[in-house]
């Protein structure tokens, strides 16, 4: 079986974001780019599945839509252990044209399992995985916290309110994964970093599909009122403030 993990290239989560061009664009100066945290967990799980030979996973590929500036992030994924990468050479406008371009680029690659993180930490859209499934006409499960292969069959855990469901699904199939899919993201070892240099990144030219939405501008959050401190010896006073001032009880 072949696994595809879809990767988004995002600013490191500790970045203090700023905007330029009348607040129309992210100020990229000084930003460190990383694999989106959910996608990193998805990649880790894909590699864990491949490590166990009895699962019969031949390759783990990472897929991405972006310009050549994303290559360092794709190399990181290769260093962590992915076998190869596919990059659609396109500056996307929104989730719709990301998913559309990706679907066209991989339609004939016959992946059996496609893993997408449930959200990207930049636009917090939670949409690419579902859109990709629909473009490809594949079944999908969203909110997946476990992907296992038991006796050649896929066994998926979906998180639901107050519990979980265990599902069986056919291949090809898309899992939109969340917390729990892997414990800690896998870190690249020196050997992996060396090997990543020679692993292939296949560049696919885009169809230039139009976006359906457009960011007009960004705004910074309004500063919150300064914190009101209560003496630790008089902690009970907090409860009366919450009751009478904040009126939350």
């Amino acid at each position: 079986m072949k696994i595809l993990v879809c990767i988004s290239n995002v600013p490191d989560t500790t970045t203090k974001v700023k905007f330029v061009d009348d607040s129309k664009k992210l100020d990229v100066i000084g930003i460190q780019w990383v694999i989106n945290p959910w996608d990193e967990l998805a990649l880790t799980r894909a590699l864990e599945l491949k490590d166990d030979a009895s699962n019969g996973i031949q390759t783990v590929t990472v897929g991405h839509v972006g310009l050549i500036s994303s290559d360092p992030t794709l190399r990181k994924a290769l260093a962590i252990g992915a076998d190869d990468a596919i990059r659609v050479n396109f500056e996307s406008g929104d989730a719709y044209n990301i998913a559309a371009e990706l679907a066209e680029a991989i339609r004939n690659e016959n992946f059996d399992i496609i893993l997408c993180g449930i959200e990207s930490s930049d636009h917090n859209g939670s949409t690419v995985g579902g859109m990709l499934s629909e473009f490809l006409g594949y079944p999908s499960v969203t909110g997946v916290s476990s992907v296992k292969i038991e006796g050649g069959q896929l066994v998926i855990t979906r998180e639901i309110d107050g519990g979980k469901e265990i599902l069986s699904v056919p291949t090809p199939f898309v899992a939109v994964v969340q917390k729990g899919i892997a414990k800690e993201p896998r870190i690249a070892a020196m050997r992996g970093i060396m090997m990543a240099r020679t692993k292939p990144i296949k560049v696919v030219e885009p169809l230039a599909i139009e976006s359906l939405t457009e960011v007009i501008n960004y705004e910074m959050p309004k500063p919150r009122a300064a914190c009101k401190y209560i003496n630790a010896d008089d902690a009970g006073q907090l409860i009366s403030l919450l009751q009478n001032e904040a009126k939350v009880f």
């Binding site: 989560t13 629909e134 079944p139 909110g143 107050g162 939109v176 960011v215 705004e219 003496n231 009970g236």
Partner: protein
């Protein structure tokens, strides 16, 4: 033309989130001079469906049949798309929870409709159609325009006030037979905990971090939560250490929540943690380190040892309740 709002049910019941969705859809419909039509899929009693009219649904459509008991993403997408086309919906509203995250993007492709997810306010303008949403995990916001004729919005939970705007209950049962061949996923087993308040639903969340020092120290935190009818939560290190269960983890990669009141007890407030809780209306921070970033996000703070402060809070809440 109309606004279509999709409502999931929990064992045949709706909850506050459902009424937030209907309230929101009804206000959008009002802005557009259209009707708000609620769609429920699954076995829900008429008395429960009637509640949707209370919050402004001009009409309630429900689809019931045995095939749809399990939530299959392709089957549900087909049914909602069919209803959307039948009633000429030009705005679709879904929840920004796991089912909305499953269905909204598929509907976007099916209907070629632009989508903005996690909205918390009414559209800022109708032409162009502009909505406001959180980006960069709460570190910024964006005004996004949707360029297509049909628009899809997913509403962030606890972000839009439930407003009653009673309408006459108009109910239509639709007999849509889902295509059995579509249903490729199969639920083998359901494991549910009962009686626990869901973190995402709770008005008050009491959350502990590494400052709780040991998994054995949680009793006063749980007691405080119980007294307040609150859900318990924790920071990532706490769930990674296995002190508390993973489904309690709030933060960027865990649960994103927006309660009225969030107690951050012994939590320093790393960016990743704040990303999950910054939409809370009030944050209370209790931490020994006066420079901890959590105090910048909080409205009320106590610099002190969580384990010494918690018993005092428990006493104060008991006193408040006895009055």
């Amino acid at each position: 033309m109309s606004v279509l709002v999709f409502l999931e049910n929990w064992d045949g019941k709706f909850k506050k989130l459902s009424f937030e969705l209907v309230s929101y859809a009804s206000k959008v419909a009002e802005m557009l001079g259209q009707q708000a039509i609620a769609l429920s899929i699954g076995n829900v009693d008429a008395s429960e469906l009637e509640k949707l009219a209370t919050y402004g649904a001009d009409k309630v459509i429900n689809i019931e049949n045995d095939m749809i008991k399990a939530f299959d993403e392709q089957t549900y997408t087909s049914m909602i798309a069919e209803v959307a086309q039948k009633i000429g919906a030009n705005v679709l509203v879904l929840a920004n929870n796991n089912s909305g995250k499953a269905l909204a993007p598929r509907l976007s492709v099916r209907l070629k409709a632009g989508i903005v997810s996690g909205v918390s306010k009414l559209p800022l303008s109708l032409s162009p159609f502009v909505v406001y949403k959180k980006v960069y995990s709460g570190k910024a916001f964006a005004n996004v325009s949707i360029k297509t004729e049909i628009k899809i919005l997913t509403l962030a939970q606890n972000s839009f006030e439930v407003v009653e705007s009673p309408k006459t209950f108009v109910h239509e049962k639709l007999d849509i037979q889902p295509d059995g061949n579509l249903m490729k996923t199969r639920v083998k087993e359901v494991q549910k905990q009962s009686g626990k308040i869901l973190i995402t639903d709770a008005d008050i969340v009491v959350s502990g971090g590494r400052g709780m020092k040991s998994p054995d120290n949680w009793a006063p935190l749980v007691e405080l939560a119980d007294l307040l009818g609150a859900a318990t939560a924790c920071s990532r290190p706490v769930s990674d250490e296995g002190w508390r269960s993973h489904d309690e983890h709030t933060g960027q990669t865990g649960k994103i929540i927006a309660p009225n009141l969030y107690f951050a007890i012994g939590i320093s407030g790393a960016t990743q943690h704040l990303a999950g809780v910054s939409s809370s209306k009030f944050i209370v921070a209790i931490n020994t380190d006066k420079d901890a970033p959590i105090f910048e996000a909080a409205q009320y703070g106590i610099v002190g040892d969580a384990l010494k402060v918690l018993p005092k809070l428990v006493e104060a809440v008991k006193e408040m309740k006895s009055k």
